[in-house]
Symmetry: D2
Subunit: 374 residues, 4 copies
Amino acid sequence: MSSFGTIFRVTTYGESHCRSVGCIVDGVPPNMSLTEDDIQPQLSRRRPGQSKLTTPRNEKDRVEIQSGTEFGKTLGTPIAMVVRNEDQRPKDYTEMDVFPRPSHADFTYLSKYGVKASSGGGRSSARETIGRVAAGAIAEKFLKQVNDVEIVAFVSGVGECQIDRSVQNPEFMELLSTITREKVDQSGPIRCPILEKADEMTRLVVDCKERNDSVGGIVTCVIRNVPIGLGEPAFDKLEAMLAHAMLSIPATKGFEIGSGFEGTKMRGSEHNDPFVKKGGRLGTATNNSGGIQGGITNGENIYFSVAFKPPATISQEQQTASYEGDDGVLKSRGRHDPNVVPRAIPIVEAMAALVLADSYLIQKSRESTFGSVY
Amino acid sequence: MSSFGTIFRVTTYGESHCRSVGCIVDGVPPNMSLTEDDIQPQLSRRRPGQSKLTTPRNEKDRVEIQSGTEFGKTLGTPIAMVVRNEDQRPKDYTEMDVFPRPSHADFTYLSKYGVKASSGGGRSSARETIGRVAAGAIAEKFLKQVNDVEIVAFVSGVGECQIDRSVQNPEFMELLSTITREKVDQSGPIRCPILEKADEMTRLVVDCKERNDSVGGIVTCVIRNVPIGLGEPAFDKLEAMLAHAMLSIPATKGFEIGSGFEGTKMRGSEHNDPFVKKGGRLGTATNNSGGIQGGITNGENIYFSVAFKPPATISQEQQTASYEGDDGVLKSRGRHDPNVVPRAIPIVEAMAALVLADSYLIQKSRESTFGSVY
Amino acid sequence: MSSFGTIFRVTTYGESHCRSVGCIVDGVPPNMSLTEDDIQPQLSRRRPGQSKLTTPRNEKDRVEIQSGTEFGKTLGTPIAMVVRNEDQRPKDYTEMDVFPRPSHADFTYLSKYGVKASSGGGRSSARETIGRVAAGAIAEKFLKQVNDVEIVAFVSGVGECQIDRSVQNPEFMELLSTITREKVDQSGPIRCPILEKADEMTRLVVDCKERNDSVGGIVTCVIRNVPIGLGEPAFDKLEAMLAHAMLSIPATKGFEIGSGFEGTKMRGSEHNDPFVKKGGRLGTATNNSGGIQGGITNGENIYFSVAFKPPATISQEQQTASYEGDDGVLKSRGRHDPNVVPRAIPIVEAMAALVLADSYLIQKSRESTFGSVY
Amino acid sequence: MSSFGTIFRVTTYGESHCRSVGCIVDGVPPNMSLTEDDIQPQLSRRRPGQSKLTTPRNEKDRVEIQSGTEFGKTLGTPIAMVVRNEDQRPKDYTEMDVFPRPSHADFTYLSKYGVKASSGGGRSSARETIGRVAAGAIAEKFLKQVNDVEIVAFVSGVGECQIDRSVQNPEFMELLSTITREKVDQSGPIRCPILEKADEMTRLVVDCKERNDSVGGIVTCVIRNVPIGLGEPAFDKLEAMLAHAMLSIPATKGFEIGSGFEGTKMRGSEHNDPFVKKGGRLGTATNNSGGIQGGITNGENIYFSVAFKPPATISQEQQTASYEGDDGVLKSRGRHDPNVVPRAIPIVEAMAALVLADSYLIQKSRESTFGSVY
């Protein structure tokens, strides 16, 4: 469905060519300062057609808060947000494609609903994520205020060029502790903070573009200053909610947290995170767990990576079959983004924030009653 | 929380040392034949201490249906199932450990709840998964009846010994099309159907056991005969629900579907799945998508892999800190399972079945109204 | 929260003085013809300031569909609807009232959220019901198509002037079988189809208006052509969902279905509804049950009544206390609606339609699997 | 479905003739003392066949906690509770009735599910409420601890013998402020604390019994020491949740809160509750609102009444039709309870407690973040 979260809950709407896209965010705590200026920056980071990150003004994808705030403060009531679609004209049915685009959602939407939007991706378009990013910006602001939570995502892989994301690589673990959103954006449009990798990734994307092809990539995200005790066993473990959130982003194919898939090769004696005293609290010397044990946050950094497949839209002819099952060639149309991971950064951050804000509120209801030891 | 699913919904209960563990399964369609004999086999595959798979009788972990069936048929009402715990005696508080076990949930449960079960894993114990496996067996039976759905999981990695799970490996793709649960179990206790790998994995586990250590592993699962049209955009894409389900299993660290993390290295031109006519329906020539496009099943096989970390309980001394923050050494106690992936097989299958059964029922409500084109 | 329903689910937003009010309706079946023309009529029936029911054009409260339809057909994706607020200027805090209005939500909102909208009712304003009425119009259209379901509400009481709503009054039971929305509106602005009662009610409202007072009333609603088998035991019995829906409408104080409170005086031998053959199906000779038995619809008419308290806003001075607890007199401001039940009619109809559409879809998912006997 | 609540959530299971009935209660706050002794008293008040209220021991309907507690304290994990059914033998299909019992759920269950339990009420049996009462007892204990909340229900009507429940009756309002559970039980088996009415009600029930007939009744419930700020606008107003809860109890036909249906006859000037200073907080001089304004508790007593129809099972011959539609006479079988409202008392109290506990926890999550003015 189109809702996510239990107490802090977002519901999104919108297709690629309807009047507007947006969302309703229910359960936002009251009395928090909030205006469009808190939301627009992440929307602008998500926006298509960012020629340079230093573009002084973004006129497109302007968010407009409809409800739930007054005099710049949240009221505790639902916050509706609307972003107008520029191209609202659906194509005529007579132009409707005879070919479902390979690895797109054309065929499955038509199969599921018996009808599909005539133009672009319809509901499967990445424009649906605008509502998520807007809602995530509110969640982020809330988390910042209650625990100075920091959420930073960056590109850790494009095609065969990948950062060594091993928990046994001290430079990677150090990066997770120090990376900021500013550093990510300063690294250039590719949003990979390791500059030599950024250059290689950029070349790889340019090469794909020239070949009318596309390439996949990986986004890594770290969350710092995480309150202890978030996440609900058994089914709503925090990593399960994060996995749900991330795999709900279009074009994702994988999620790993902490030591991830590589960690399966480790021995328990090296993988276990010994406890140590850290300031006033109990922490762990290593963090192979990725900040979550038994589905519950332990106060260490949460970090995870998300795999994105190469975009399905490519400017090449593709041998395929029509809806009727007849073989044929789908012609290329225009030029397309050869890689989406840089623009996925604010979406990953938004979904992470939504998971955390909801978990935080649920845990607070529990703590309010009999207290916890922390 | 302890519930999973919208229409077909399981709620589990139980700790490692309470009277019983079990579940309530709500929304099971009526008029389906069902007895304990449909459920016990998967529970027995999950059971600890399986010396041989050919053991003629399992006396332990016997499930007892409490409600929801009569004369061997489901009534459409909630099905409660109970499995008695053998060791129901909690330890006395005076014996309570001074050390939270590294990479266990001792510390996080205590932080979250301000109290924790005195013995074993409490709610974080793998015994919680008994309720899931029992519920999953019902879901599986339902799916088998309505569409002959087949769900088969197997071990694809133990430590550094891993099957080549690449979508570009034709042998792996062939394995996914042909593997049966019988073949998996015939491969021996390690449950890896590629026999030379099974031998190597077994040696690796034995070696870990001798060193009082543990090792992680990977479970791969394939779902065949999947109805087209399952999965709910935007947040409840089928892969998102599967990721949620899998990462809610204890000790999991990663999930990938279709081409997964390796697929990020591919180009769109090789990753896209061209359409072809398959019997009466439109199918795809390749299946890098893993049977899901735009969050919705396309009728091809769904396949995914789940990463399990090395078990945290090891029979070695571990340098760590007490709850009070004092450094110390946690002594080893007894001998423990050095690897859990073979026993995770029925749990992965159960969670997959729960996701599919729920998605199926939701889609059926939609199809019932105006029909779909397929 | 601001969402209602499981499969067919509406989420509303909006305060009295924000930019707009509206909703997102998720789970609307695809391929259904739908435009603003299907929604506007009920919004216009709900609209304040209807001088005559025959007003040729209503310029106010115009709904605009944002998403989820194309070429006048639903896509199966969320339908967002927006109605602009005319007066969007919140009052300045310096004007903020020192008195919470008696029997309004001023005090409780401030207590709950620590903040409240400065003007009018904020979220507790009846403008929130615009989203419900818009969503309900879609549900109604759906129900009409799948089973020719008819939902008609009318005013059955204003102050001490009440229709005899007893199940033992054959004229009332006949009215339930024959009343149409057209007849209700033709009865005049009071919307009571028994004309002598309508006259008395009208005089009573006029009298209240002249005395700067207000008066309560009762709305009765009948649903005909109800599919058999809707409603989910145990907690989501159909009458429980209807009661939930109705008591969520502002200013409601009671709900009764079938024989209701008066029926508690009856004997079982006269209250039981004997079965009789009706056309091709089994029906009941009487309908004291109100069309629901054991929480499940039996195919007979559903009918229920909803009590509305006298509006809290009156043009009289009221002795009360300030937020600070100081005694004082709240002065009257302007003139206000002395009675709201006629305008509540489309809201009651909308909430009834939302309950039924959701129940219908849930039941269809069940029926799709193994069939039901009907 | 069989679940109720968001954070504090109960899921029940069980038919009249299966192995056991019971529930899982999820979200119970940790560290609360809890044993079967906290739960059994309300189950015993609900139990059938209570000859006298002073019966020293009840051997039947013994509850057994399965999980979620240790050493008499809650762990924060799900609490499963089981009550064994004494008669677990379903009747053979060959004995299956040819007649659906009038105003029972036989016909609707069969229509909905295509199958029904062969014996007794199956899932529609009042035995399903055992799980509710057990869960409610936990909710009550929690509410008692956090705010000394008191919930007391009593019989206010049997047939034509009814207490004057008008808000304009000072004796009734006084009764609401002073009634205790002990006084209710001391009033005799009828559980009406106004003794002259109790006598009349008792005679009425005895008379019905002698005539092989049954009679309906009304239960009134008051909740005192209610925290301010509970209830979630718009759809989950506290009165909406209470109405949902109450109408989910078998045999209920109506719900009214505060001034209720009679209040519709009042004028706003007399119905509005003026504010006054009460101790340290703002209260209201009258309480026609029933403790809720705008869907949110204001700290005054909540009180509401629930209508129960006459039990459908009567020891008389009834003219009706068979499942096949043939006219016939349903013979009487045995003797049955002519009135159920005294036994409904603990069920009403349980459902009220479940609504309040859940609302409390949701509001606490909000208050924890930015505070509320109270």
